[in-house]
């Protein structure tokens, strides 16, 4: 201790203490805000639709109504189709964690079988968009990469950003990132128009065009950071942040060293 306390007035103490305090706060925060995995619900096997109905009554009906007819706080689900249910539930958006702005992507609450059952039940109420099958979703074969990029910039980039990193909308709403999203969910989002997103019907974007967009998104996702650290792919804001912190910080550090008197 005595050896340490000799250095308590050293000029490096203040910055070191600052770094230490920031590390301690950051670690505490990340430990405290970690959430435990939700245990899956127990599931009884019966007819799929009946099973979906039971799940719906337990988990969804308090907002969407006992017959999915909707209510004051949630829309009717009659006619939204299986694709909508699959998108909203399998990405964890439904059930919502809080209803303040919009449903956010999180760990799904239901297992894939339960999602399928819920989708089958909602689809049985009235016809709606169906979940695209694997044969349809063969984007590697049916899509065109460059055309997909052009379509993405024409139709998607104004909300989701040029590199699909997402962007802000009004009043705290946002277009989420499309990186790391399953192709089936991208497709479903286009045909059902979740949250603030418009519906891109097959007349606006043909199925082939949708597959091209998915192909481009997957290529962008897999693209290595060609110019070095990508800085979030959000444009000049992070570049400016880097030059004002690390960049000029390094140069001022050298300047201070150069102007120091030799001891």
């Amino acid at each position: 201790m005595k050896r340490l306390s000799r250095y308590r007035r050293h000029r490096a103490v203040a910055p070191l203490m600052l770094v230490f305090a920031l590390l301690a706060i950051g670690t505490t925060f990340s430990v405290a805000s970690a959430t435990p995995n939700k245990s899956a619900l127990a599931l009884a096997r019966s007819a799929v639709i009946e099973e979906g109905k039971q799940l719906f009554l337990k988990g969804c009906s308090s907002c969407h109504g006992l017959n999915a007819e909707g209510g004051a706080i949630a829309p009717s689900l009659i006619g939204v189709g299986a694709a909508s249910v699959d998108f909203q539930v399998a990405t964890g958006r439904m059930p919502m964690a809080d209803m303040s702005t919009q449903a956010m992507r999180k760990e799904p609450v239901y297992t894939p079988e339960q999602v399928a059952a819920l989708a089958a039940y909602v689809a049985s109420l009235a016809p709606g968009p169906e979940i695209p099958g694997d044969e349809l979703l063969n984007y590697e074969r049916d899509g065109s990469l460059a055309e997909g990029g052009e379509l993405f910039r024409n139709n998607c980039a104004m909300c989701h950003n040029f590199a699909g990193q997402g962007g802000a909308l009004t009043q705290g709403k946002y277009a989420p990132t499309v990186m790391g999203v399953e192709p089936v969910h991208i497709y479903e989002a286009m045909i059902t128009g979740p949250q603030s997103m418009p519906v891109f019907s097959d007349k606006t974007l043909t199925p082939e065009e949708k597959l091209s967009i998915i192909k481009w998104i997957k290529a962008a996702e897999a693209e290595p950071a060609l110019g070095g650290a990508s800085l979030g792919r959000v444009g000049p804001v992070t570049e400016g942040l880097l030059v004002w912190t690390l960049g000029i910080g390094m140069l001022i550090g050298v300047a201070v060293w150069l102007a120091m008197k030799a001891r």
């Binding site: 702005t101 705290g172 950071a225 000049p236 050298v254 300047a255």
Partner: protein, 528 residues
């Protein structure tokens, strides 16, 4: 004399006999420069400019400044077969096919950001230490000119690759030109050679970017440095330093070694960042077409505060005599920046009018000893910072789960409320620091060592300051406010009474200080 010395001597003599350089060199190589890290900030800007010239020249060998439509058939597959301008296609080729091209592009762009950061940091150093005072007002104005041209030059460079982001920026620039009442739309047609986007602006911007502005830069930088040379560098106050001398190291060899070395450090740091961090990845943005836009479209940071001002402007428009006047673009896009740069350029004259100080100054002020100036600087920086934050409002909203509307309202209110608050707080802090300097001089430094006296009392040992330190804390001037009575000595009322009153009020506010320690105070302490 060794053989080597003899040869060197002969060469030097040969040159001297033909140019007479020896006398000039002897005088100038011994010129003394004061040593302080903050005097190197302007050098960072100078070196970044040299890096920009070198890397920029490299880029011109492959860049095709034309809006001719071409079909891309290069290496980057996600854009294969798309129609794009030759400018964009050649920038892609520089990035992916020219050896070292991407690194050069990134060096060029990072150096541009460094250039602007260094100019701003250098400006802050000059401002807060009062280095702009007589006789350096002209050099200050040249500096403000370099800052303004730097913003324009950077923006043009950002626009040249003709990607989606740069096209968006050009589109906004066109909107701002159009917002000039009456002549705006004609000016825009003139600049773009017709309706936007046209085919003219890339070649035009190119010539301005690589020829006209760099030439002006070279001229202004030369004058800037010659004036520093001729007027000599300012220095911080300290023992032995006066208004009539310069204490430091001679140019040769000490300062030349330091400055030359620093050039390589700046080049090294720029190259390091360019090698590890991506900048302006135009292949992700795609080619520009006026029908497309991306979320999070942003200018580089030095334009960001202007963008932020435009983003926070409320939708005001009037229709007068058949012309639409877009106040929402005109005020934040032209009027406020115009006022700010004019105020910045005229600041030395405004301050000398308020203080009535027409003397030469070569010793710098510590910022705390000029509380009003420091507070005005803090106020201007707060204004710019709020605008800059609003320029990134969408990115901030997205990254921190905030509402873009709330950030905009924070900025709208903050840009009016926060600068005055920053002024008051900074001024109070400066005066408190003066008071603490006074305490230090009068009572010495608290050592943290407690001593118990024989009769039981505890006292803390105060260590007296060194004479050098005392000199530093007491050598500054404290001039009172100007005496500007409404009726002068001869009993005549002064003309323009309102202006006189304003000057008098400002002079009083400017002279508000914590009185510094005088010999009388010290004597009192001694007898105490």
């Amino acid at each position: 004399m060794t053989a080597r010395e003899r040869i060197a001597g002969n060469v030097a003599n040969y040159v001297d006999e033909r140019t007479g350089a020896a006398a000039w060199m002897k005088k100038n190589l011994n010129k003394v420069f004061p040593d302080h890290w903050s005097f190197l900030l302007g050098e960072i800007a100078l070196y970044s400019f040299i890096i920009l010239l070198l890397s920029g020249t490299f880029l011109t060998f492959w860049f095709d400044p034309s809006q001719r439509e071409v079909i891309y058939d290069g290496e980057y597959q996600p854009l294969a077969g798309l129609e794009m301008s030759a400018a964009y296609a050649s920038t892609l080729d520089i990035s992916f096919e020219v050896r070292g091209g991407l690194l050069m592009r990134q060096i060029h762009h990072w150096a541009a950001l460094f250039f602007m950061v260094a100019i701003v940091v250098h400006l802050m150093r000059v401002y807060f230490t009062g280095a702009f005072r007589k006789p350096r007002e002209f050099n200050w104005i040249i500096g403000v000119g370099l800052l303004t041209l730097g913003i324009v030059e950077g923006f043009l460079g950002y626009s040249l690759p003709d990607d989606l982001l740069s096209g968006t920026g050009i589109r906004i620039a066109e909107a701002i030109i159009q917002a000039i009442p009456v002549v705006g739309s004609y000016l825009a047609f003139f600049a773009f050679g017709g309706a936007f986007p046209g085919e003219a602006f890339i070649p035009r911007i190119f010539i301005v970017h690589v020829l006209i502005l760099p030439a002006i830069f070279l001229a202004l930088i030369t004058v800037h440095l010659m004036l520093v040379w001729y007027q000599k560098h300012t220095q911080y106050p300290g023992p032995g330093r006066t208004e009539k001398n310069v204490v430091g190291y001679p140019l040769m060899p000490v300062y030349m070694a330091k400055a030359g070395g620093f050039f390589f450090v700046v080049f090294g740091v720029t190259t390091f960042i360019a090698a590890v961090a991506s900048i302006n990845p135009i292949w992700l943005y795609g080619p520009y077409t006026p029908g497309q836009i991306s979320a999070g479209s942003q200018p580089d940071w030095y334009m960001g505060w202007l963008d932020g001002l435009v983003r926070m402007a409320p939708p005001l428009e009037s229709y007068l005599f058949g012309y639409t006047i877009s106040w929402n673009i005109l005020i934040p896009g032209l009027i406020i920046p115009g006022l700010m740069f004019t105020g910045l350029a005229l600041y030395p004259f405004i301050e000398s009018w308020i203080t009535g100080d027409k003397r030469e100054h070569h010793l710098l002020d510590r910022p705390r000893n000029a509380p009003n100036r420091t507070a005005i600087g803090a106020m201007a920086l707060t204004f710019t910072l709020v605008a800059l934050i609003n320029g990134g409002n969408d990115i901030i909203a997205q990254q921190f789960d905030l509402s873009i509307n709330q950030i905009m309202w924070f900025s709208r209110i903050g840009i009016i409320v926060l600068p005055p608050i920053a002024f008051v707080i900074t001024k109070r802090i400066c005066i408190s620091l003066q008071r603490s300097d006074r305490e230090l001089v009068l009572h010495g430094k608290e050592t943290g060592r407690l001593v118990r006296l024989p009769h039981g009392e505890f006292v803390e040992i105060h260590e007296e300051l060194s004479p050098e330190k005392k000199w530093l804390l007491t050598s500054h001037e404290q001039n009172g406010p100007l005496e500007l009575p409404e009726i002068d000595k001869a009993g005549v009322r002064r003309p323009s009474a309102i202006r006189n009153k304003l000057r008098s009020r400002m002079s009083q506010a400017n002279a508000e200080v914590a009185p510094k320690v005088t010999t009388k105070d010290l004597n009192e302490i001694e007898n105490h």
